[in-house]
Subunit: 640 residues, 2 copies
């Protein structure tokens, strides 16, 4: 019989026969009665293992064990077998006089799955391995069963996956998942989400409700995947969030809702974006902004992984949108390091520098200082960093970044050092606490574009210094903060009219209500973003619960057709409680917590940046019959 | 200012101003420091409530409370307000001398959302309401805030939703959700799933892993929705289950996986089917059939809702497929009542009844007895029930159901009573314990079709008797059982070749392995179904972990192109542990537990039986631009 793994695993066939022999309503023994064989602790219960490979310690010495795992490698002609499972490695030694096992073992391919029967012994004097958690013991092998052979040459080695290129790791994701790193990421993700559920469900009476993912197209939802239905010309849409459903649940009296929700967004090929992603979705009735913020602070504090540094202190700092832009040039500031932006307009009044003195009254001059920057950034470095930062403006606003390098004797190297008047120079140096060895960057302009550019430059500098081996940001530090007080509307790109800064359901600040009629652009929203180390990891708002207000904003301000949202407007008019909520982007959150450069490393089966599954080659062509069923056909280029 | 609800909810604006006034990195007070206002117990924490409406009891007498809820109704010109939230009703009485409140209250529409400030008092002697959990107390109202008005005429009354037709309840699902019944269903579902998670995650070390829903089309996956991508002619597919991913996770060393997984199935318009549904998806390595079965038994026992009768005893009974068909004529028997099928072939040997005596050697005669059936089923009833049962055969096998009515004096009324020989008649009566007042049904044929027909008739009879007020099945009884030992393959409908009875990844019984080459149709699979009260609520199997075996079954037996599953076959060859799993259909399970006739009553936002969302009118047409983006166009009938 040549189906190797299948038959060699005879342990199974034995007890299956037993089970099959049961007839009629005769009851088999329960797991408990089966005792050690089936009903063991936590990680091996219901299986044919007594322990995991990685958990054995000196306290287990003398125990007879049955282990199952992957052969990491073997030494000395199969005498030493290093077995691996998710909990770690264990050394197995083939016992004296087991020549048959030895000859079996020595020919095993790495990553073959084996079952080992044996006894735990202390390692011989001097052979302990302090670097290994199981390093004080070894298992003396009485028997080995090959559960399933592995082929000889795997696409890459499980032990050193680091230098494998990502596309190959994604094509053979199931091999990559065996690595210590991904095992940790997956398990940390699972257990932290579990703690979040305990906090919400068990401690605070939230109800976990699943909402549909086949829904109606939302007006202007250009980023929503469509799903053809069997009704000709009719499509479902995969929602970007359960926003409407969570609000309808509030109307429905599910006054505390949460869901770990799968969401969809089609952004074509965008790095660091996945077509499907997961958010912790929360909504509450009879709540205000601070209620939601405190809830999330306590949630994160409660669910923080035991084995992770930096459990956040609550409450988190708050910044207004305006402050964030003024001090960091971004609405998601990384506060793990300083180098804050400063308004130095006054210092440079009548400075002698033409480009400053010519500035209009609406303009401001913003600066930030890089301590010891001159020591670690060459002129060429500075040039490159400036260019990168200026990219975000696409040269639209003709903004110019000026740098001042301060030499060891305090002398300035800068394009403006010849022109700037001494008093301006002193005022600037004093205001920015300029030291020798520093670099000072500044830029001038109207509005906030020059803040954004310097904000970007600030991050580029931090990154550059870190590549130079200088610690700017502490990797074990997790700086959460709230950014709030955003404008409710923004001018459309085409300048014609306003659009929602976040979404049309966000409630205006109540003290701004009167401005809605007169100066909608001045209205602030009851919106809040949760920021972690420069990443937006969450966002939410208090919603509009009043039908008239919602209709007014849709119709009169956003110029949208309210009939598209008829069902929501009706709902608001039938007894909708005041409510608000938030959604945390779990992929991004865990990427930060696991210190990953990409969210792909905290997702079991991620797609490539162009939306492909490299393992199965999705998306793929479908049959004509499939298209017929959905009344669609493929449009060739020529037809366009 | 005319945005009613919005401004009247001034409590909010007050504390928002406070929050907005925070500047810089100044920290607000934490919830704890805010004391009672924000940080109360479980169900009202972080909100502006001190209690829920439904939780107040005599022990709360004397407390000052702040409640928020829906106005169920008012009596005596607004003097008595009955407030509702998910926990129940509470009577509020406008205090003496609050004429302004009285005039406000008397004009409030039902379902208006109000906030009530007041004090809990014992109800006056003789005015207690024992039928109401809060019936011993009432709240004396000091102040009322209208949080949001409701329109006067709602589509239906929250109090008596029963007689509302379902399509209307689904169009205004957010109103239906307010009903006691749906609140209970949603909350029972949430809390039981939470307990399942605790059992798997916290007690048995399972890892919750999210798998993609945008995947590659599976070969012949005619029931999979397709999702057009931006790559011309390329489509994702919404999987019917995470089957492939869960197996790949086993290969990846996530040796205990679970997920509450959203799955998709496009069956067009089929009653009792939803295009998206939820299953508890489980997979384990190094496990056998009984390991999975015991796990599930313990899981259900552990997570059974506290307030629900009938927590199941473990272990559950086992039936083989063959036994289930023989005794119940179905592979998902309802064992809450007897009326088992019996093989009465021997009794009717040389019976004198032509149609029996002419039967071939392969035929069998099967019968079941309906105790006191004659007393409760008219001749017409019997005729109708027989016709319904025979429908499942579509007259293909020309099967005929014979009934015998036993009169008070034991006399038979039947088409065969004239012909049947006395001894056959006695043998039959003895074998079936026939009593006067009973009805005996029987049918003859080859194979099992006549069993299936009688199995269906058995259920129809039970249902009919129940409509006659006779308790056949105990609604509080939950009969779980395992059906196993299914054939691995079934002949295709077109009779040409074999197809998988469940799916191509199911492992054959190891003792049947040799039959694979010689008599594949005789091979049994390591598959198991979990049945509850006649419903299939779960199914799973031990999987094939051997690449050669999997390839042989795909290629040589099922005649499928193995290259379609290249990634899976590769994975099996690179160190795949023996593994197996199961999926529980949660919608069906909760429908049974909540005693609902339809799964729609345990889903927050179900679709109609033809796949429509009656609330939002999904699916709906999409724009030309949307179609362009995905390189598709709608195919009109004429083009077909």
């Amino acid at each position: 019989m040549h189906f190797v793994g299948a038959v060699i695993h005879t342990g199974a066939s034995m007890s299956l026969r037993k089970l099959f022999s049961i007839r009629g309503m005769v009851l088999p023994r329960t797991c408990k009665q089966l005792g050690n064989r089936l009903y063991l602790h936590n990680n091996v219960s219901y299986t044919h293992r007594t322990h995991t490979c990685g958990e054995l310690r000196e306290t287990d010495i003398g125990k007879t064990v049955q282990l199952s795992g992957w052969l990491q490698y073997h030494r000395m002609g199969g005498l030493f077998l290093i077995l691996r499972d998710w909990q770690g490695l264990v050394q197995c030694v083939v016992s004296q006089g087991k020549e048959s096992l030895l000859s079996l073992a020595k020919d095993l391919n790495y990553e073959t799955v084996v079952e080992v029967h044996g006894k735990v012994h202390a390692r011989p004097e001097g052979q302990e391995n302090k670097t290994l958690e199981t390093g004080m013991i070894e298992v003396h092998v009485e028997d080995i069963k090959i559960l399933n052979n592995s082929i000889k040459d795997l696409p890459f080695d499980i032990r050193e996956f680091h230098d494998v290129k990502e596309s190959l790791r994604m094509e053979y994701r199931y091999l990559d998942l065996r690595t210590k790193r991904l095992q940790r990421n997956m398990r940390l993700r699972s257990s932290m989400i579990m703690k979040m559920r305990e906090f919400l469900c068990n401690k605070h009476g939230f109800v976990d409700v699943e909402t549909p993912t086949l829904f109606r197209r939302t007006p202007g939802g250009a980023k929503e995947f469509i799903v053809p239905s069997r009704l000709p010309g009719k499509f479902y849409s995969l929602p970007q969030s359960p926003q409407q459903f969570k609000q309808l649940l509030m109307v429905g009296g599910i006054d505390r809702y949460f869901q770990v929700a799968k969401c969809y967004r089609d952004e074509g090929a965008k790095p660091e974006r996945q077509p499907e992603f997961t958010q912790l979705d929360i909504e509450m009735s009879f709540v205000e902004m601070e209620g939601i913020e405190f809830l999330i602070e306590d949630l994160l504090h409660f669910s923080w992984p035991e084995d992770l540094e930096g459990r956040p202190e609550t409450p988190f700092p708050r910044l207004t949108y305006e402050q964030a832009m003024r001090w960091y040039g971004t609405d998601k500031p990384d506060t793990r390091f300083d180098m804050k932006l400063m308004d130095v307009t006054k210092c440079l009044h009548d400075s002698g520098v033409q480009q400053f003195d010519r500035l209009s009254a609406e303009s401001s001059i913003v600066a930030f200082r890089v301590p010891k920057g001159a020591d670690h950034m060459s002129l060429k470095n500075v040039q490159t960093l400036k260019e990168t930062a200026l990219k975000i403006d696409h040269g639209k606003n003709k903004i110019n970044i000026i740098d001042v390098r301060v030499g060891q004797n305090g002398e300035w190297k800068s394009s403006i050092s010849k022109h700037i008047k001494p008093d301006s120079r002193e005022r600037l140096a004093a205001a920015t606490h300029l030291q020798s060895g520093d670099i000072l960057f500044f830029a001038a302009g109207q509005g906030i574009k020059h803040n954004e550019i310097l904000g970007r430059l600030r991050l580029e500098c931090a990154h550059h210094l870190e590549t130079q081996g200088i610690q700017v940001r502490n990797k074990d530090k997790f700086n959460f903060l709230w950014v709030q007080d955003f404008p409710l509307f923004l001018p459309k790109d085409d300048g014609d009219g306003l659009e929602s800064a976040h979404h049309p359901f966000t409630a205006p600040r109540l003290e701004d209500l009167d401005l809605l009629k007169t100066h909608p652009e001045k209205v602030h929203g009851q919106h809040y973003d949760l920021v972690l180390n420069g990443n937006e990891v969450g966002g939410g708002s208090i919603r509009i619960h009043n039908a008239d207000l919602q209709r007014y904003i849709l119709q009169d301000i956003l110029k949208e057709d309210p009939s598209e949202l008829k069902h929501l407007l009706e709902a608001l008019s039938m007894g909708c409680p005041p409510h608000g909520g938030i959604a945390l982007g779990l992929d991004r959150l865990f990427a930060c917590l696991c210190n990953c450069d990409t969210i792909r490393d905290v997702i079991a089966f991620p797609k490539s940046s162009d939306g492909k599954d490299l393992m199965s080659q999705a998306p793929s062509p479908v049959s004509k019959a499939d298209l017929e069923r959905y009344h669609i056909q493929i449009k060739t280029e020529s037809e366009k």
